[in-house]
């Protein structure tokens, strides 16, 4: 459920509502940023920028245009991708090959209480390579369908449905159906 009342208060610059939204979404947003930057310290820094930006632009969220989660997601992706263009980031990551969110999940041992860790681990096991790539590009990096199709060399028309199959699998193992 989307906490509509909290969001309305947040848009009226209510700090305690904002604190609750932070509590609810900050881990998600950190996960998104980290899957782009693969750098814990830098990700934490960008996370703070994202929420400060959300606060300063609170009035620009409009539920008629999309979900609040999506709105935050877009701010986060843009901030993280901006960061990858900075010189400092390029210097530090020069020798690192592009990593996927699944690499993060595979390496990870401690999950927060918000996560069904067993479900997630199981998901990675059953996830097809194409799903890993589709979700990485479409969701974590915010590619368009066209960009995704070109990058993966698959027909444009299949991107949307393929992605749905991958997400259905995730929902299945997490029991979110």
């Amino acid at each position: 459920m989307q906490p509509d009342q909290l969001i309305a208060k947040f848009q009226q610059k209510d700090e305690s509502a904002f604190a609750e939204l932070y509590e609810r979404y900050s881990e998600n947003i950190l996960g998104v940023i980290h899957s782009i930057l693969h750098d814990q310290e830098l990700s934490e820094e960008v996370l703070q920028d994202v929420f400060v930006k959300a606060w300063n632009n609170a009035s620009s969220y409009n539920s008629k245009k999309g979900r609040f989660f999506t709105w935050l997601l877009n701010i986060a992706r843009n901030a993280a991708i901006d960061k990858t263009r900075s010189k400092a980031f390029k210097d530090s990551k020069q020798n690192q090959s592009a990593a996927f969110f699944v690499d993060i999940l595979e390496d990870k041992n401690n999950f927060s209480s918000k996560v069904d860790a067993i479900g997630i681990k199981k998901y990675i096991e059953v996830l097809e390579p194409i799903c890993k790539k589709v979700i990485q590009l479409l969701f974590f990096k915010g590619y368009t369908q066209k960009e995704t199709a070109e990058e993966l060399d698959i027909p444009l028309g299949t991107v949307k449905t393929r992605n749905r199959i991958c997400i259905n699998k995730l929902r299945e193992v997490l029991g979110v159906t």
Binding site: S26, F51, K114, F139, K160, T161, N163, R164, R171
Partner: protein, 265 residues
């Protein structure tokens, strides 16, 4: 009306939550999600699954909100104007005056914009109202034309019903098509029936006088067309209308005979 299942299966809702649709596409999905609870439930499940996935990708628990709080507060403090300055140069006054003026202008523009928006809303409402009236008028016109067509049929027999003692001003008309065994009775010339009473239409054969009930006109509507369509398979020689207790009577109350007319041979 969209096919909900097909819409869900298309995978568009996932992309909606991802935020990878165009602004217009997103707005359209939002609109549909607000209309259909099944779509809303689906969107929330997708979001829940993605929240789990992204939480799992977080390298650590995020630092507490306090770090954000200090940032948004220090930012706001920057806007506080120092009051202790002794000498304020004229340029600053001018600057402030310009700013105030600008604010007034913006405020004025804003309120003008609001007024215009209100006006547009009012106009749109009026247009809707007018549209409704036009639709109704067209419907009534169509009904009237239909009726006219019926009354203009070649084989229709027109029988004027004249007033009787009880109501000297009353009149009514019957239009009877023997082929289709339909009759139309126009009761506009009758006074409104009193509470608890209804008009009843009778078909009469003479020699001997035998009344047959054709209809109880209990759908009487003072504002409607006051034209009723009734079946008449009888070999009517005359028609009469009496006032009867609610529900009608088995035989006419002749003291309450309002109008009567004979079918021309």
């Amino acid at each position: 009306m969209i096919d909900i299942k097909e819409y869900i299966d298309s995978g568009v809702l996932e992309l909606y939550v991802y935020g990878t649709l165009s602004e217009a596409e997103s707005a359209e999905v939002s609109r549909l999600v607000a209309l259909h609870p099944e779509l809303k439930a689906e969107v929330e499940q997708i979001e829940t699954a993605l929240q789990q996935l992204t939480s799992a990708a977080a390298p650590s628990t995020p630092s507490s909100f306090e770090s954000i709080r200090s940032k948004i507060q220090s930012k706001e403090e920057k806007y506080v104007i120092p009051l202790s300055r002794k000498r304020i140069p004229i340029a600053a006054y001018l600057g402030w005056a310009a700013a105030v003026l600008l604010l007034i202008v913006i405020g004025y523009q804003f309120s003008e914009g609001q007024k215009l928006e209100d006006k547009i809303t009012t106009l749109e409402r009026e247009q809707l109202l007018q549209q409704g009236k036009t639709d109704m008028a067209e419907e009534e016109l169509a009904k009237a034309n239909e009726l006219l067509d019926v009354l203009r049929t070649k084989d229709i027999i027109s029988v004027p019903l004249g007033a009787q003692e009880i109501a000297p001003e009353a009149y009514a008309s019957i239009y009877w098509n023997k082929d289709t065994e339909k009759a139309y009775v126009d009761v506009r010339g009758l006074p409104n029936p009193p509470e608890g009473k209804v008009y009843q239409l009778w078909s009469l054969t003479l020699d001997p006088l035998t009344p047959t009930s054709m209809a109880v006109l209990d759908q009487y509507d003072a504002n409607g067309t006051q034209l009723f369509e009734v079946d008449n398979p009888n070999a009517s020689q005359a028609f009469g209308i009496t006032l009867e207790p609610e529900g009608g009577s088995a035989s006419p109350t002749l003291e309450q005979l309002y109008v009567l007319g004979v079918v021309e041979p």
